[in-house]
Symmetry: C2
Subunit: 359 residues, 2 copies
Amino acid sequence: MLDELGLAARNHALPLEALRYPITPLGLHYLLIHFDIPAVDLASWRLEIGGRVERPLSLSFEELRSRSERTLTVTLECAGNGRALLEPRPPSQPWLTEAVGTAEWTGTPLAQLLDETGLADDALEVVFTGLDRGVQGEVVQDYERAIPVAEALRDEVLLAWVVNGEPLPPQHGYPLRVVVPGWYGMTHVKWLRAITVVAEPFRGWQQDVAYRLRASEDEQGVPVTRMLPRALMIPPGIPDFFTRRRIVEPGPCVLEGRAWSGLGAVERVEVGVDGGAWGAAELDEPLSEWAWRGWRFVWDAEPGDHELRCRAADAAGNVQPDEASWNFDGFCNNAPQRIEVSVGGAIPRDMGDDSPAAG
Amino acid sequence: MLDELGLAARNHALPLEALRYPITPLGLHYLLIHFDIPAVDLASWRLEIGGRVERPLSLSFEELRSRSERTLTVTLECAGNGRALLEPRPPSQPWLTEAVGTAEWTGTPLAQLLDETGLADDALEVVFTGLDRGVQGEVVQDYERAIPVAEALRDEVLLAWVVNGEPLPPQHGYPLRVVVPGWYGMTHVKWLRAITVVAEPFRGWQQDVAYRLRASEDEQGVPVTRMLPRALMIPPGIPDFFTRRRIVEPGPCVLEGRAWSGLGAVERVEVGVDGGAWGAAELDEPLSEWAWRGWRFVWDAEPGDHELRCRAADAAGNVQPDEASWNFDGFCNNAPQRIEVSVGGAIPRDMGDDSPAAG
């Protein structure tokens, strides 16, 4: 339990009210840092591109930054989002529902660098290696993940050095990180130091053991790749400090939130009250092909206690399930968010005065 | 437990390796947000200064910003830091040891505004009211805290609109917050909307019920005010992902960290290994009168498992106690930080290769 609290302290979630910002302000975007944030000296930092390429490259930060650049608005979610709501709770970073954020990432398309290096005929996957190092599953490792060559050559895959118009802060991968729009966060390797093209499936721990949907430790399981659809709601009204239960005024209450999927455009968001029928929310115009989509729904809040839920569906036909299936590592729990709300009588009006209880 | 995890997700701690930065980068400073981050429209925002003053003021942001400004480097710590290490654990935000950060805050001295308004002869305390609103202890409230007039008139008390050279981000109190150097964080009211001078002791919930050292819910207790001394260490070596246990190479190991106290300058930091005698660390020059002080200590790491501790003492004669006394709300637990370390054999060298396990 203290181990989980230690992880929850250092890995930051998006406070749900920050869903109000289409672009998440720096400091509110979720963070999952497996090991330690490395200290990086830009003068000695280099990006090495090698392996099954025709012309290996070693680039300083300035050399990299002289390449063409592109800015993309991208929603990132942790594959473990929702883990702590599974029972039993798999022991790892104990996310509830808010391990997400959307940022404007600026960098150079990876495809252009791979065009410079050329690829060997047997190139199969592209391995990203970070400067972050530690022990997981009893294996000492640099943090590493791979994607298939076809994914790496997508126009939207960036090596980013700027977020929201600012140089990457340490916690987002200074000086350089990978951005693979549509995929869960584990693939967006931070503190990038090497890109290695390989001819065999990459067997690193974070690929071969972690980030797989499996029923037990002994199973090989299925790789976690793109984000499943999810809608989140800005909790309405005002919160109770400890329980986060919401207090809402009776009457029409505008529920707002954002929804995303890495598998297809969000086509539908629905809101359910007290387990009743789902009602369609109104959708904003998409922010970008790779970012969350705003939605709103007017709820007629009647006095009493209520449970609000929301769910998203995408163009590929995926809908959030009522319950997500348990898995050994607690990935991909995209069951609908539940918000507990008390309407009306719960607010003692005499305590709700706006002026300080001044003497 | 899920309530605690919900708070731990939204309230961010400083990852301990970020102690390496003398000024905490934005996004890594600790955050404790009682209710929700409010949405603020700067065009309609005003600061109202009233109560027991001679000439009340109502200022727009531009009017406020036209006052003289000052920048101070200040360490802020949550009064609940260390709470989750008390047994039994008081149910609230479950901080371990890292609810701290140091920033450069820029704003106008409060004393100058109070000089403009003048104070009535019976002025006793200055109440700060935020725009954040919610329920705590079954009381609906705007977040409010007060300080005595003598504290409010200190040169170092600022109304800050800039942090680390940037406009305040939403989570740090945009557009304006109070900074009271030396005091725990609960006093540095964010999203400030009103300053009210009062002639009687302020009895708001966050003053009269919360932030008091008390043995039970029925006691009045003693107010929490200034930060007790505390030293923190950057955990050496590399971490295990889940337990955060450290793996360190044998041989001389430089331990580094920072120490602070709101009660007097840090005069001494000591490191203890495996419960043995305390050894003196070397201290950096102070960063500012109100900020943490860097320290280092060379430890000869011998193979095996070890426990490292550190503690600070200040010029007022306060030293971190071996154990902090339990209190009902879990405040002020400044018992020494403990870091568990494995030296040597635990690193399987064949797994520690720097290159990706490429096929």
